[in-house]
Amino acid sequence: MGQSVLILFAIFVPILFGVCILAKPGFKTRKSLIATATVGLVVTTILSFAILYIGDMQLELFAIGENMNIYFHADKMGCIFMTIVTIVLPLVGIYAFEYMGHYEQEQRFFGFYLMVYGVLLALSYAGNIVTFYLFYEMMSIFSMPLVFHFRTKEAVMAGLKYLFYSLTGAYCVLFGIYFLNQYTTTLDFTAGGTLDMSKVAGNEGLLLIVAMCMIVGFGVKAGMIPLHAWLPNAHPIAPAPASAALSSIIVKMGVFGVMRVVYYLFGAEFLRGTWVQYTWITLTLITVFLGSMLAYREKVFKKRLAYSTVSQVSYILFGMALLHPQALTGSLLHILFHAVIKSALFMSAGAIIYKCGVERVDEMRGIGKKMPKIMWCYTLCSLALIGIPPASGFISKWYLATGSLATELPVISWLGPVILLISALLTAGYLLPIAIDGFFPGPEFDYANLEKKDPTKQMLVPIMILAALAVLLGVFPNSFVDYMGELVQLLF
């Protein structure tokens, strides 16, 4: 029992730190604020790594209602998501200490940042759908202040839009939970699904509708087609560290929700070959294609990255929708790689804006000369994202493509890889030109009064670590792949 209390600490330490930072009227100096925030980050990271190390842990907190109890269970799937959270968030936090110095009201930013960190950990440990839904809703509410941090008129509107979209998604999920409560043996996540076949016998149609509702509900957070409009205008408005955390982790929580529902509540067998699977796959493919097309046309740098998030996350959803072990491993891998790459890209974008104050892509000619280190990390990460072999992106796309070919679905088995390839080309189309113009600005660039604008070490180090990770994960992937492989065997 002793270690299971660890989960409790891992969740409530950051939340407590966040509340203290918010509640304290004012810090004497900026340094003491940064110190408390770092301590918070470090302690939580250590705790979560300890949980990762100890492995399978359970904690039953208490019961709100009849079968509504707060229950934490750090199973294998939860650990994957917990790892991406503990890797990305501290690094983004360190980056943010430097970045936010430039703006005021930091205290509010860091307070909410730590609370979001705690809630994300709780989400990854959640053992049943009710606890998951509780912290899913908390996450929307706490991450909203991060989005409209600058409190300009459009920032507040974007924040509200973000909140109301995620609330709509949350209520679709709640609608599903009510029905699951009736038709499943237990609401806890158990690999392979918990549908009570005797009750389900009569009304499969109803349950398919419920499944579609929950997928669309969680899809809102993952930026899937019907309700993705909030993402492109929430990211550019938010400060860079917030949008980095947002697009790499919080969006993944939507994917995590879909994963839990499909594989741990309904079970893959129930949805295989049904109209739900087909509509889901077509939705993801449309998003993949649409996201990359919009990103290609977008001129504002952060908006472009936001659209790229939309399309990359739909890669993952596409892999899940195929309900095939290989494709599932591909999507799990892509979750890991995309989190790392996208946070690095957003942090580099933030650094460029922070240093040169330039927003649009066409104004960034010769950036490579001014900020060589940042641009090197940027280029490495974009290569990884596009899927050039040595880098990590290639492996996950490889598994996705082979997985989709392996499923005998009539049209999709060949159409899927084709669309993946096209959108990979488009990804190259919207990421590489920045690097090329950056390094080879062409003749009229005045090399004379050029002066280096690289950011301080505090901002640079996290980006470099992530860029290095993006490449190394691609080179030595097999430890991850085996871990994913045995996890996937459990689900089919």
């Binding site: 709100i64 209602g65 509780l134 509410i141 300009t152 709509t168 209520y171 009510y178």
Partner: protein, 491 residues
């Protein structure tokens, strides 16, 4: 405690109220202490009756052919009387500070405590006639409260309220008469009183009469076609809107509908008939209509009044499912909504009392100036929204569980309506919290410079209600089990 304590519980606040008006007082705080003492003693008596009271019928006044004013304590009484007896002393305490600005306090508090006695009368009534009797008295005793400020719009609001209520009562009377003729007795018995042989030829007519009686009592429960009076009654002072138009009067309407459906006509007779669909459709439409009107409303109290309209239809939706689980869901939301709504009305009242402003857009930046008030307002807003961990989630959970369990396709659509209106509630409650805590950049600071949190007499009830919301949210299983016993008829 024998039966006569019921009479004491009902008459004490009435007599106390009248004595408050006519006894001379040197200082006002004497009156406050005297009135609060009466309130608390009545509540203690009520809780004494609930926990250990007699259960057989106690006839007080005999009318013609076996009609009588009589009292009884059954499951429903415990729920409603318990709820009212907890919230009324709190609201009175709140009222003391609020009414300092207004004159004619004695008359106000006279009718306020009379209304308490009459509401207890409704709760303890054991048959349709005595409930109808106190139901009418409740209208008469609350009209002067709505009219208290004696301004033009207050008089118009009270007139509209009076016409709606008396009109509704007329139709309810029709329902009662049919029960007298076609039922064995007017006594409330779970499962209905209609005698099979008398009803055999007239099912369709009786269904029509149930619809009329439902709309009659629905006036007070603010069902769609007849809900216009509630927002206009928002013009009354806050202790009135907080307690009466969020808890006592409207809940009396819903209580009457539950009595009508489960204890007089009987759900076996009504379930599956065309009336159930009509009534459920009405409830669902009102739930969405109430919220959509609330989103557009910028006057804070009218917005909360519209939110009451929609939340009441949640309860009525639970009732119209017509299964024991439906009743559990309805009772659960009846209690949770009462606690949450009274908290939000009190916060709105505190805001108006401190700043004298009435509109949502005057709230910019007040969150940091009046932390207690606006934190509790945000908390109760989240509760209404259905954030898990607070009371709203529990009641929505039970309502939806009942709807899904009833296997009635319309009930599934009802759950969708429930969630749509929860989303709309989120929109209009979160926008208030946003304005209070994160106002847009250019708001004028000196407008809110002077405002601070109100005195302890206002803050204490607000905080207590917020605490109840959290407690109900986290530890609701004992309460829900009690409701299950009530629905099963054990009490």
């Amino acid at each position: 405690m024998n039966q006569y304590w019921i009479l004491v519980a009902i008459l004490l606040p009435i007599v106390g109220g009248i004595s408050v008006r006519f006894l001379p007082y040197k200082k006002t705080w004497e009156m406050y202490v005297f009135l609060e003492a009466i309130m608390i003693t009545t509540s203690l008596i009520v809780w004494g009756l609930i926990l250990g009271g007699p259960t057989e019928v106690f006839h007080v006044v005999h009318f013609f052919n076996d009609l009588s004013i009589s009292f009884k304590i059954d499951g429903m009484t415990m729920v409603f009387a318990g709820l009212v007896s907890i919230l009324w002393p709190l609201a009175t305490l709140y009222g003391f500070e609020y009414m300092e600005q207004h004159d004619r306090q004695e008359t106000f508090f006279m009718f306020y405590s009379i209304a308490y006695g009459v509401t207890l009368g409704i709760a303890f009534a054991s048959d349709m006639l005595s409930m109808y009797f106190f139901y009418e008295l409740l209208t008469l005793s609350t009209v002067p409260l709505v009219m208290h400020t004696l301004k033009r719009e207050a008089i118009l609001a009270s007139r509209k309220y009076l016409y709606y209520s008396l009109g509704g009562a007329a139709f309810a009377l029709m329902g009662m008469v049919f029960l007298m003729v076609y039922g064995d007795t007017l006594e409330f018995t779970l499962g209905g009183v209609l005698s099979a042989d008398k009803v055999v030829g007239h099912e369709n007519m009786l269904l029509w009469i149930y619809l009329f009686a439902f709309l009659g009592f629905g006036v007070k429960a603010a069902i769609f076609p007849v809900s216009e009076w509630l927002p206009t009654a928002g013009v009354a002072p806050t202790p009135v809107t907080a307690l009466l138009h969020a808890v006592a009067v409207v809940k009396a309407g819903v209580f009457a509908i539950i009595r009508l459906t489960y204890y007089s006509f009987g759900t076996e007779f009504l379930r599956g008939s065309w009336v159930q669909n009509v009534v459920m459709a009405l409830a669902m439409f009102t739930a969405v209509y109430g919220c959509s009107r609330a989103v557009k409303e910028s006057h804070i109290k009218r917005r909360l009044a519209y939110s009451t309209v929609s939340n009441l239809s949640y309860i009525i939706f639970g009732v119209t499912i017509m299964t024991p689980m439906g009743l559990v869901g309805a009772l659960c939301h009846l209690v949770c909504h009462a606690v949450m709504k009274i908290c939000s009305f009190m916060c709105a009242g505190a805001f108006m009392h401190q700043t004298g402003k009435k509109y949502v857009f005057d709230m910019d930046g007040l969150g940091w100036k009046m932390p207690i008030v606006f934190c509790t307002l945000t908390l109760s807003g989240m509760g209404l929204m259905g954030v898990p961990g607070l009371a709203g989630f529990v009641s929505k959970w039970n309502l939806a569980a009942a709807a899904v369990d009833s296997k009635n396709p319309m009930a599934y659509f009802g759950v969708v309506c429930l969630l749509i209106s929860a989303l709309l509630t989120a929109i209009y409650m979160i926008s208030i919290a946003m304005r209070a805590f994160f106002p847009p950049w250019g708001f004028d600071r000196e407008a809110i410079a002077g405002s601070t949190d109100p005195g302890w007499k206002m803050c204490l009830p607000i905080m207590l209600c917020a605490l109840f919301t959290i407690l109900l949210g986290l530890f609701s299983s004992p309460l829900v089990d009690f409701f299950r016993d009530v629905a099963a008829g054990i009490y």
